[in-house]
Subunit: 432 residues, 4 copies
């Protein structure tokens, strides 16, 4: 019996608060979980800075990755098995892709990717294909196996059904994170009947479809997602923390470019600053590393860097007001001047942040978010795109919602020991 | 109106997965939560290395501290208020002590305290009484207020009722952590009817008592605690991680004593190594800092330090067998010699670890665990110690249960590329 | 101290699976719960025939009534108390109206009201105002108190705020039943964050309003309601049971009109058959009584009555197909003729049933469903109707959804021992 | 393919609040659920009069029977399948026995069995073996199949392993009812980790055993059961309802024996009164029938019968005091005389009720409760009885706990309009 078919002598289980247990029988999966690259995901939070808003949201990407794997395992072993449309040969590939789909995430991905022009999807590919423990395990299955796994995650694999399991508008990734993030934050929004959705999933040649009888469960899932976006993922306090984090990275990079001399050598950051990050460098980055430097930078000479780091570490975040960029650009430029006069660099202390989401969309080639839409399998065998059947989904389909806020350090603006009049003017403009 | 009575203009709430919401109305509490010393608890896990066994257990002491506060708030505001035996003057003191009771915990407390001879309770006192943001907030209430809070936590405060709310065999601390740790690990053991227990708590001069009608809920709580100890807190895999962590700290300390030259200066560790830790040093310690050094030490020259750090970071833990120290000391010494011959320093690679718990105890002055026993308030007004009324509790009362295990690196012992015969002998002795 | 202010010496609690505990301190409430009219609600299921689809849905209106009371208690005691806009004098009135709002429901209300032209709302009024134990308790508060309670429930009371607590598009009634029905059926749809909604409710002169910050929680509540309607309340299998039940009542009434001689005297039904139901008669009706007669009627001579009763008792329900009354009326008349030929009276064996719901609506005077819309309290103090702020709600607002099905006894149509050819024709037409 | 192997074309599921879904694939199971004898269980509450204490406890035996079936289905299909010790031939038999194990329960079994000397286990046998729809379905499997099912339920079947699945000290029956009764009452006691217990169950020749690693989960289950007994099943208020119910039946029977002329013919009761109940009679009994007569009897001439029925229907129960039969028999006889003098027949109005439970017991042949003890499968393959390994279980093993209470109508004793002095004496003796 080859490695790909090897089973553990006894099934291993992980106690999981969301799925009760995560079950592992395949030796390959067990070995992947044990790799250093996968264990690294324990040191990267699933929701980045969200824990500063919802204190329960301290769970890691390790958690989530196991969850996505477990959902796929249930789909392929409990629902798809023995169905003609499902090729059992794709089973192990699907499981591996599920487990590894987030492997390339770094610490606080969102901010890091923006400031240092990184792409976690590229790193996922590199980790799977490069000189890593993960690659060694996958290569034992077959020399071409790592490439296949990378293709599934990269959405270029030939079997589109497998891709749709991992990334579509109703994939295992989303089903896990909605429930998991709801569980750990404690909000009541992320609930939907996943049991039922799994039961009505059917494999088709190029995608997973949902039996018509499960349409309402899918509607509920889409509404859950919509609520989670606006209640949790785009929470303005989380975005405030994100703004500060981004500004810390900007400042550190700027200082480096200006040959600033850091008290403590930020060795992990050099390749980031120079935008020449190797795989080895990248794998050394995790949130512990970042927080170490932030603590060090609290006592840097540069007051902007030091102030921002203190804010992040001690959760002394920026306040915000609603902001309409279309109408209020003049006000922004006015505020900008006043901030300068008040001795507050607007580059770091006056920040517009925008969030935007498309709760559901049918397929529009060439558009930014090209995730596959959801298809229903009608009683007569026909396949129909969800928004054509569901009024609720139709009503929100393709409607992008955007929210803009203006962030600033309220405490500094309230402190009237200096620049009293200018700050008064600022406060009047901000209506605070 | 003074600071101690000041209320927020609008109640603030924290979404909490265990208590649904944590409610804050007192300005003092709000200000304490905002201090840097309290925010630091976000970077210290409630259950140390347990996340390596139960992946959900990534929650911080910040979480738990808010929970204990919320329980006390409900007791004093919903249950005790307007009862003659309760002195409303003690309200704010109780809330502050609840919130701050774990303030002095450092990273991976258990191991650090053992290796560097620290005591988190002392640090809690120092943080409350020293030159800190927490002290500044408490002092605004009254110059003598920090001392009072410290006394409640230190169990020397004159009003024993207040102490018993925070530390007894059925205090808010235990009620929160049992439920919280069960929630985050996902185990089904930590459930008990806290609502009912709160409802039947009554203040008496020197302690909280429980109305007789709530006895079964208390029995259930004690059984939950018993189960949580053996299923979660003393889980042998967690203890394996703890063993490795302790050995890392030992090794680093030993190397320092031997004037070993670390590639990367472990500046946060110097005062630990010299056992002269100031408050300022201590407050810089958190788990991010420790994990930073562990990553650096993975590439140290010293192979023991480097190996142990890799094990910890990549969760390549020691295996274990049952061990009876009373009967098997000879075998241990024999194994020790064989390990030496096999090139494995038994000081680091052959470790006996023991766990021991007293699920409930009546009061025995002078004993190690001097927590107040639980008293029932009988229908006739009499007060009786719980184990005299409950058969279940009586049956486990005062019965210490101890478990010993012997830990070792199975992978190295299975690797027969060197010292084949000695390793074979070792494996035979260990029956693995 | 008068009766209206009298408190129980110790708070009483009911263990409730939805709200954890229902708390009673007021003597008046305690006495009302003990009346025979209120206890009768234990013998009337909250969801009528739904238990034949969702076996867990066996809970009674007694359950739900306590739940509505508990929600109102929390609103008035925890949220409204001490707010200038809230008149504490209305507290007891609100609690009583909440508890008693469903008092006039009879067994399987929907079918009984249709067949016998009853109106449970009238009976609620009669029970409160008539010669009953409930009236005696309420009259002890004040001679005019029963009338006030009846007015609140009848929506004619002068204080519209009190009415809106009990009946509006987001009242305590709906909030309880959605959660309770979800709990007992086990479906995952009825969840929404009631804690949050309660926290953001504010009293205004003529209605309850919701602080803008709670809008998403309200959206979630509306979506829950939408899902519950289509997944639970309008489930086609439940409607099949309802169809049969209605036809049983019709048949029994028809037989009575035809002076049919029942084997066992249906004494409880006479006043129903003659549509002269007194309050005393009505209070004797409960589901046990009805099921008693259905069992007796299983052995009646009349084969239609006997067959339908057996179907109901043994859950041998009608099957259904989709049916479009606008397009298929011809087919229906054709089927009707064929049924007659097949010896199946279409009056009883070929039934069109329609369900229709308006998930949310703004106010349109004169319309059938005149429940108050939901109003948001904006940050600037303005009050705005929900669908003007929420895209999701706007998208479904005022959109009535209707579903038509055609029910028939599949087993009889499959039975080819007689009228083989006609049945074949019927099956072809029905496409079964 | 024979009937025994026949599968439904599509799996059917029942939404179940405890197990999420109950899955049915076997045609035989589906047909059994549809029988009139099984559907009758919908009209019999799982917990009899408990709903008068815990209002949520309105769930039926139908509910529970599906649950037991589902647990067995998971054991045999997910855990036992493919294990050498398990005979796949016993699968269908186990499922049927699980589903039907409570089939013979009548309305309010406990009281009816006591007063009319019935035995629900006999009726289960009769229904399975007699001229019933259930028998017809089972006989289609094989002529000898009904007998086998009856033997498993009657504990005489040759394969003891199958019996132990359905009735032992840790069988599917108990595992379902503990969780289900906890769910519907809303108490927090019935939780234990059934998932884990199922995972560690192993088939052995004559019983199910539990892998040693699952011992703590089993301890937790036993403690849950202990708590449920004393918190729910033996709740003194439930027992008060039971006392009244029993006395109603006694009175009606006595009146019948005295040739009392009932206003309304209690036709369903005649065979009970004469203790000659046929299977046909028995199957007509359900709780609706009983409640019908209780309503009729509220207006009987006999004041005892009428008073007791009103009490039951309107939940005007007896109060109670602790009572020690060993020490207080004299007081009881004294009270008895006083009750007679007060015009209250002590036979009906002064009742001692005792409850008694053995939380766990090892095997003692010949003892009343002969359920099989729980056996652990040790790592070395040995089998050990649980209480020898678990201190907690050992401490409660074989310890019968008994509770006695004396019930009486407090309201009548407080009513001083007649027999004032005698009632005063009674109250003094009862210390109320």
């Amino acid at each position: 019996m080859g490695y790909s078919a090897e089973k553990l002598s006894e099934e291993k289980v992980f106690k999981d608060p969301v799925h009760r247990y995560v079950h592992v029988r395949d030796r390959v999966i067990w070995d992947l979980i044990g790799t250093r690259e996968f264990q690294r995901l324990r040191r990267i939070k699933q929701l980045g800075t969200t824990y500063l808003t919802f204190h329960g949201a301290e769970h890691s990407r390790f958690n989530h990755s196991l969850g996505v794997y477990e959902i796929i395992r249930r789909i392929v072993d409990d629902v798809f098995r023995d169905r003609a449309e499902w090729d059992e040969e794709e089973r192990l590939l699907s499981l591996c892709a599920a487990l590894l789909h987030d492997l390339g995430h770094g610490p606080f991905s969102h901010s890091f990717e923006k400031v240092f022009d990184l792409d976690h999807e590229n790193f996922t590919q590199e980790i799977i294909l490069g000189d890593t423990e993960v690659n060694k395990v996958l290569s034992r299955v077959h020399a071409s196996f790592p490439k296949k796994v990378a293709e599934v995650i990269g959405k270029t694999y030939k079997n589109k059904l497998v891709i749709s399991l991992i990334s579509s508008q109703i994939d295992a990734d989303r089903m896990d994170y909605l429930q998991r993030d709801a569980y750990f934050t404690g909000v009541s929004y992320g609930h939907f009947d996943m049991e039922r959705i799994l039961r009505v999933m059917r494999p088709r040649e190029d995608q997973v479809v949902i039996k018509q009888s499960g349409m309402h469960a899918v509607e509920d899932y889409i509404m859950s997602r919509y609520q989670m976006y606006w209640q949790v993922y785009f929470h303005p306090v989380t975005r405030s923390a994100e703004v500060i984090l981004t500004k810390i990275l900007h400042r550190a990079k700027d200082l480096y470019k200006q040959s600033y001399s850091f008290k403590h050598d930020p060795i992990h950051f050099y390749s980031l600053f120079e935008e020449k990050v190797t795989l080895e460098d990248y794998l050394k980055l995790d949130e512990a590393i970042i927080l170490f430097y932030f603590q060090m930078w609290e006592s840097e000479e540069d007051t902007v860097l030091s102030d921002l780091c203190k804010r992040f570490m001690n959760r002394n975040l920026f306040k915000y007001v609603e902001f309409d960029p279309a109408k209020e650009y003049k006000k922004l430029s006015e505020l900008s001047s006043l901030f300068m006069k008040a001795g507050l660099d607007p580059e770091y202390y006056l920040v517009v942040d925008s969030s935007s989401d498309l709760p559901y969309d049918f397929y529009r080639p060439g558009e930014e978010e090209e995730r596959l839409p959801i298809h229903l399998l009608m009683k007569n065998g026909e396949i129909r795109e969800l928004s054509r059947e569901s009024e609720i989904v139709d009503s929100i389909s393709g409607k992008r919602r955007t929210d803009h806020k203006l962030y600033f350090p309220d405490d500094l603006l309230q402190d009237d020991t200096s620049k009293k009049n200018i700050k008064k003017q600022i406060r009047a403009l901000l209506e605070i």
